[in-house]
């Protein structure tokens, strides 16, 4: 994993398993395909999409994004602390990440309930089909993310484990959940 040293003298390394990076890039392609279909569909019936989209609350979307970005911040901090040997702070950051993830999850469920109460279901309109599909498949990735965070916490808790590579691998996955949401948020809530 260690490559030639960069100009500042620190050796370059791949964060976590390269295998996870392969997964991240592949999954990103799959999501990009979903987004491509969505944008294309949108251009075919823009008024209908705009009308449905107006029922979403942008502030909830902004809140979701800020929370998930915070979770990325805390897991990045966790990786750096673990690398420096500060496992106590690293563990706290891992729990913090899980907490932010939970806030995001609850907020999402709350938003779905709100939309359904407004009468916007999975098959109400093309826009809402995409809305529930994209946020739904992202939510599945978030749930997997909780399992992944569980692995991080399990690793950090005992001195017998603490594989830095595994912690970095799991963090890489979590960041993917985050940046996929950044794209979903932009495409569902803000794009006109």
């Amino acid at each position: 994993m260690v490559d030639l040293a960069d100009k500042s003298g620190r050796a370059r390394f791949v964060p976590g398993q390269p295998d996870m990076w392969a997964f991240v890039l592949f999954e990103t392609l799959v999501f990009t395909a979903y987004f491509g279909f969505y944008l294309f569909c949108r251009t075919q019936t823009p008024e209908a999409f705009l009308h449905s989209q107006a029922q979403l609350d942008l502030r909830i979307g902004v809140f979701n994004t800020l929370v998930l970005l915070l979770s990325s911040w805390s897991v990045a901090r966790c990786v750096q602390s673990a690398r420096a040997g500060a496992y106590g702070p690293a563990l706290r950051d891992a729990y913090l990440t899980a907490f932010f993830g939970l806030v995001f999850g609850c907020s999402k469920v709350f938003e779905w309930a709100q939309q359904i109460q407004l009468g916007n279901g999975f098959d109400s309109s093309d826009f809402f089909t995409y809305y529930f599909f994209l946020t739904g498949i992202h939510f599945v990735h978030l749930l997997i993310g909780f399992v992944v965070l569980g692995i991080v916490i399990y690793q950090l808790r005992s001195p017998a484990r603490r594989s830095q590579q595994l912690v970095e691998t799991c963090a890489t996955y979590w960041h993917t959940v985050d940046f996929l949401w950044v794209l979903i948020f932009a495409l569902l809530y803000v794009v006109r």
Binding site: Q17, P18, D19, M20, A22, F23, F26, E27, V30, A33, Y34, F37, C41, F122, D123, D126, T129, Y130, F133, I137, V140, H141, I144
Partner: protein, 274 residues
């Protein structure tokens, strides 16, 4: 498989010489010949499966859920011959599936994980062939049997066939996840970790196709751009990859219980004893 009590492969090394001699040795005398036979059956099955579904019976890509009964009856008429012939072939070769599943379960036996993984994979995939394959075949063959059947009944068979095929992905999802977990916690390095993650990608496509129960049009219908077309791309990548991965596994197999050795670099082989 009697692999566990077979003596180590080091006593039987492949001969040097022309390729056909070496291949013949691998198929006839090598301790791995049963594995190669299983792998060859796997490849043969898929080489028959896809042409039958896409060319002979022409049931994939799937037709639209939104067609009216007259169009559906016409679709069956067009395939009056193709469906019975094609699915007749599928029924004949269906048993090959058992060998495919056994080879994959064997890969899990070679891992350092508990045998429960291999066994549960075998059970799930054996059962999944019924909703995932045979129901479609039976329903469509019944649909072509009597050309003057009541269109309502034909429509019922049409819906039943495609919903059972696309809508029952849950079993395949669990199966993929079993293999994924086994690969990720395996210490014998039977497969690289990225292949475990690819199993996750495949499992997620099964989730994506589930909404086809609800939609009769659009991207998530059983013929939709996302539920069928995109999923087929991911599935195709996955299929080719796992066939190659199993090939590599058999090449590396040493019938031991420890980590699977990596393949010797071709250069080292040439430079070594000839």
């Amino acid at each position: 498989m009697s692999a566990v009590i077979t003596p180590p492969a080091s006593s039987a090394t492949p001969p040097t010489g022309p390729p056909h001699h070496r291949i013949a040795w691998h198929l006839w005398r090598s301790p791995k010949r049963e594995l190669w036979l299983a792998w060859a059956i796997l490849v043969a099955f898929y080489n028959l499966f896809f042409p039958v579904f896409f060319i002979v019976a022409q049931v994939q890509p799937p037709p639209q859920p939104t067609w009216d009964l007259a169009t559906q009856v016409h679709w069956f008429h067009e395939r009056q011959l193709g469906i019975p012939i094609g699915f007749g072939i599928i029924f004949a070769i269906g048993g090959m599936n058992a060998i495919n599943n056994a080879l994959i379960a064997y890969s899990m036996r070679r891992m350092s994980v508990t045998r429960a993984f291999g066994y549960s994979y075998l059970i799930i995939y054996s059962l999944s062939a019924i909703p995932g394959l045979y129901l479609l075949c039976i329903a469509l063959i019944v649909g072509t049997l009597r050309p003057d059947r009541d269109p309502e009944a034909v429509g019922w068979l049409y819906d039943f066939a495609f919903l059972s095929f696309d809508g029952t992905m849950g079993v395949f999802l669990i199966g993929s996840l079993i293999w994924m977990v086994a690969i990720l916690i395996d210490k014998n390095r039977v497969f690289p970790k990225w292949f475990g993650y690819l199993n996750l990608c495949n499992a997620l496509t099964e989730v994506v196709v589930a909404p086809c129960w609800i939609f009769r049009r659009g991207v998530l219908a059983w013929n939709g751009q996302i539920a069928w077309w995109l999923d087929m791309v991911v599935f195709g990548v996955y299929q080719v990859t796992f066939i190659v991965m199993l090939f590599q596994m058999i090449r590396r197999e040493d019938f031991g219980t420890g980590p699977l050795p990596d393949l010797a670099r071709k250069k080292a082989q040439k430079n070594g004893e000839a």
